[in-house]
């Protein structure tokens, strides 16, 4: 009998303690909410510790590194051709765009230049990767706002672009197609016509998104004036890509830092938006997908003939030296700082990824916003977890 009473008392005490803990947590100024590491809005394993006052954020602290895979260190024990397989996985939605700056850095050290046809095809695949990547964003932003349908439209039409990437390279997500001095293969027969059709689909998708999402009043209410990044703050945090262009900074590495690819051969423009809010970031990215379609069309029209591979020794050894090449990745500036000591493997590779710098602004940006807006702001900053943690 006493045993039962004891147990009851213990249970009662435990319940009291639980209540006390919960109450203390609620009564302390603000509540701490752990968004992530497993949370539907983080696309993977990002963790944001948010201190809340009601639904307002007092303090936001992003914790990164749950997906750190040590690629910078791994490159030191891989030969140059093997490295592209690794760095494919950094930003997994537009893999080809990851390969290009690294290959360009190695080519710079070896003083090799890929033939024009290879450069043009590189540019085409680069831009197709951008379309595939940013169209994901265009759909995903809808999901974060509660409208699931745009995501399915994005997945449907992105498929055509992925098919084209697969037809040319053999891999839908991880092409591993770029080689020092050129490309692995030439384009298959009929690829150019099929790509034009895929671009038609993509342009139709952009129109659909404009009608369905941008034209929606609720979407405007949820994004206009939310998460404003002034140009100087954005620059001081090292933002790049569409995030900084949405703050009115006219800066695009494709135009401002020619690295030998074919962007300077075609007619296109850089889109900016003066507002710097979530809506501006969405709008700029939508225009960029359209502009990419425009670029690819021109490149397909003027594709030069010729070889796709320069003369490169079978065993690639990069001479001693250091090189930094940055390109306009779909997410922003992505650069590789490559140090070689003349061996078969790089001595050190430092990857500058866009998502990491873009995320660094979150403590500043999320202060004072509502929980619901935390999600839309994060979505509009658009990060890929692999790109964030490498």
């Amino acid at each position: 009998m006493t045993a039962i009473n004891d147990r009851r008392q213990l249970a009662y005490a435990a319940a009291q303690a639980t209540d006390a803990r919960v109450n203390i947590e609620l009564e302390a100024e603000g509540m701490t909410l752990n968004i992530g590491p497993q949370h539907p809005a983080t696309h993977g394993t990002l963790r944001i510790i948010v201190r809340l006052d009601g639904e307002q954020v007092i303090e936001a602290d992003p914790v990164m590194g749950y997906m750190h895979r040590g690629y910078e260190k791994l490159t030191e024990v891989r030969t140059y051709p093997q490295v592209t397989t690794l760095i494919n996985r950094i930003d997994w939605v537009s893999s080809f765009a990851n390969e290009v700056p690294f290959i360009l850095a190695a080519e710079k050290l070896m003083e090799v230049e890929a033939p024009p046809r290879a450069q043009w095809i590189r540019t085409i695949l680069f831009e197709l990767g951008r379309i595939a990547n940013v169209s994901m964003f265009l759909g995903d932003m809808g999901v974060q706002l509660g409208a699931v349908t745009p995501m399915f439209y994005a997945l449907r039409d992105r498929e055509f672009i992925l098919n084209q990437i697969e037809a040319a390279t053999g891999g839908r997500f991880h092409p591993n197609f770029d080689r020092i001095g050129g490309l692995k293969d030439d384009l298959p027969a009929g690829w150019i016509e099929d790509t034009r059709l895929a671009l038609d689909k993509m342009e139709y998708f952009c129109q659909q998104v404009e009608d369905l999402v941008i034209g929606n009043e609720i979407f405007e209410q949820r994004t206009r004036g939310i998460g404003i990044i002034p140009a100087d703050v954005g620059l001081s945090y090292g933002l790049s890509g569409a995030n900084i262009r949405a703050s009115g900074v006219d800066w695009d590495l494709r135009r401002d830092n020619p690295v030998g690819l074919a962007w300077d051969q075609v007619d296109w423009r850089v889109w900016t938006h003066p507002d710097g809010d979530s809506f501006a970031r969405y709008w700029v990215r939508l225009q960029e997908v359209r502009e990419s379609c425009h670029i690819v069309r021109q490149l397909l029209d003027g594709l030069p003939s010729g070889p796709i591979m320069a003369k490169v020794p079978r065993v690639v050894k990069v001479p001693e030296g250091e090189a930094y090449v940055a390109c306009e990745n779909p997410l922003g500036q992505m650069g590789y700082y490559l140090v070689s000591q003349g061996g078969l493997t790089p001595f050190r590779v430092k990857v500058r990824t866009a998502s990491f710098s873009n995320m660094s602004i979150t403590p500043w940006l999320l202060k004072g916003t509502y929980v619901a807006d935390v999600i839309t702001i994060l979505a509009s900053l658009y990060f890929i977890l692999g790109d964030l943690d490498r």
């Binding site: 639980t18 919960v22 949370h39 539907p40 509660g146 399915f152 949820r222 619901a372």
Partner: protein, 360 residues
């Protein structure tokens, strides 16, 4: 009347009504989940939806129920066990109580209350208690945020819901839902009695306010802040699993159906067809009873539910169409929308209805 004619004992009619209530609430929820959640949405999103279970995936819901029934019923460690377990029942009870007063035919009504619509709006608030219970007892911060958001939202949108109905009540002159149907069958609009007087014509503002408020009461997009799966994981339902989750799920769809039934009674003429049509078709003629009451043909106890189902599916189509098209409002935006737009509009609607009622 029909039931009385065949002379059932009281307990027999009670059991009969009980089974019928289950069929109405749960039986109607199944097809609507299949047609709208599984198929219509899939077609909207350019995919096929379930295709494997049964012909054209029609048995998918049964498979889902079977799956949920098998799952472990997890109660979080720190949860308030009793409240946590009771919450889904409270939500479901409110759905069943709502169904009680909805008339499906001249006699096919579970309880013919004189304060019918008042009762329905009152019991619809019970689900708030269930949701608050679920949110608090889960001992999870996401659930708590979701529960509080839901409570705030449901209370805010209760008002436009009631005020939208007031216009109909003024026009019909009764709170009894049968009388409201009567008024629409017998009524005339601008001297024309060809189509009766479905109140959607005169109460079009009330109808829109009612449907918007229903959307919010159901916590569906664009008012799904309490669930908001991209930020609050699943709001107050986050910690539920297995059968208890299924009860929330079924409750949501069943309540959507019942609200659509109510809207069709209030605005679309309910189970009836216009009096002119009744006169034209031989079997459906009405009689005048000894005390001056209008007695409708018994056939309407069979035709009525079918008409109601058709109207219900038309209205739930709108509900789900909106649900899968729009993004969601933020919490403060939807509160502002209720208090600054819907409620003033509903009050103006009542004032106009009242004035016109006196004038005509």
């Amino acid at each position: 009347m029909m039931l009385a004619a065949i002379e059932f004992a009281y307990w027999q009619t009670t059991i009969f009504k009980l089974i019928l209530a289950l069929v109405v609430v749960l039986g109607a929820a199944g097809p609507s989940v299949y047609i709208y959640l599984f198929k219509m949405v899939s077609f909207m999103q350019s995919r096929l939806g379930p295709m494997e279970a049964g012909p054209y995936g029609s048995m998918q819901l049964l498979a889902e129920v079977g799956k949920s029934a098998q799952k472990e019923d997890i109660v979080p460690e720190r949860a308030d066990r009793f409240v946590f377990k009771a919450a889904p029942y409270v939500v479901l009870i409110s759905t069943f109580l709502l169904a009680l007063v909805v008339p499906f035919g001249p006699d096919a009504v579970f309880v013919d209350l004189d304060v019918g619509i008042f009762f329905a709006l009152a019991v619809s608030s019970i689900s708030v208690i269930g949701i608050l219970m679920a949110g608090w007892a889960s001992a999870s911060k996401y659930s708590l945020l979701g529960g509080l958001r839901a409570a705030g939202q449901l209370i805010a949108y209760e008002l436009p819901l009631v005020l939208a109905v007031v216009g109909v009540v003024i026009q019909a002159g009764s709170l009894n839902m049968q009388k409201i149907v009567d008024a629409q069958i017998q009524g005339e609009i601008f001297g024309q009695s060809v189509i009766g007087n479905p109140f959607i014509l005169t109460q079009i503002i009330g109808f829109f306010i009612f449907m918007i408020a229903v959307q919010a009461e159901l916590t569906q997009v664009p008012f799904d802040m309490p669930i908001a799966e991209s930020e609050l994981v699943s709001g107050y339902m986050t910690e539920y699993s297995g059968f208890r989750f299924l009860m929330f799920f079924i409750g949501e769809f069943a309540t959507a159906n019942i609200f659509a039934f109510m809207a069709s009674v209030l605005f679309l003429g309910g189970w009836g067809v216009p009096q002119s049509l009744m006169d034209a078709i031989p079997g459906l003629a009405t009689e005048i009873g000894v005390d001056g009451n209008i007695i409708y043909s018994n056939a309407f106890n069979v035709i009525g539910p079918i008409i109601m189902l058709a109207k219900m599916f038309a209205l739930t189509f709108i509900i789900y169409w909106v649900r899968f098209t729009f993004p969601r409002f933020r919490e403060d935006q939807l509160q502002k929308f209720a208090w600054k737009v819907l409620i003033p509009l509903a009050l103006v609607n009542i004032a106009i209805t009242g004035v016109l009622k006196v004038v005509f």
